[in-house]
């Protein structure tokens, strides 16, 4: 029973990583690609780590899997934010809904 749950979680997590990959290939704007590459794999790694803990069932595996998940939860948004800021400053933009960040910065709103 536990092995079945672990297997389902492993497949679910891998499917989420694949979804991120498809998004990275298919989306048109770099921000959409970044969003796809940042969000889906976090849940994917969470599911895979739970699956690994259920399947190995040792303290060492549990602690390391937990560490990997925490690391991913902390570093993922930070890295994506760093990259997004760099891209915003370097590329020419054509946003559908207008450039709200530039408007805010022109009005000197604190972010």
């Amino acid at each position: 029973m536990t092995d079945t749950i672990a297997g389902v979680l492993l497949v679910f997590g891998s499917a989420l990583i694949l979804l991120a990959g498809i998004g990275v290939v298919r989306f048109r704007s770099i921000y959409a690609r970044m969003h796809s590459a940042a969000k889906a794999p976090t849940l994917g790694i969470l599911a895979i780590a739970i699956g690994v803990s259920l399947s190995v069932r040792s303290v060492e595996a549990l602690v390391t899997a937990l560490l990997v998940v925490v690391l991913q939860l902390v570093t993922g948004p930070v890295g994506t934010h760093l990259l997004g800021r760099s891209v915003y400053r370097q590329l020419e933009h054509d946003f559908d809904a207008g450039d709200e960040l530039a408007a805010d910065e022109a009005r000197d709103v604190d972010h």
Binding site: A6, G7, I17, M34, I48, V68, T75, G79, R85, S86
Partner: protein, 83 residues
Amino acid sequence: MITMAFALLALAGICFMIRLFIGPTVADRVIALDGLLMVITCGILVEVASDDSVAGLDTVLVVALVAFVGTGVLARYVERRGA
């Protein structure tokens, strides 16, 4: 189950590699590299689950850390040298 997870991860790796090759900007390639390291992380985790040996777990931690540091450094590069 394990084979299916590996197959899905392989397809994800192919997707990220396509983006790595076609670009078009440096930032796109940074995203693709980050995704590839994510695929490697998950691949090692699934491998650990498949043969119940905890030897790969330290590697997972190192790969996850290298992915973050690499993304940060490359983001600085994009900011200074242009996308």
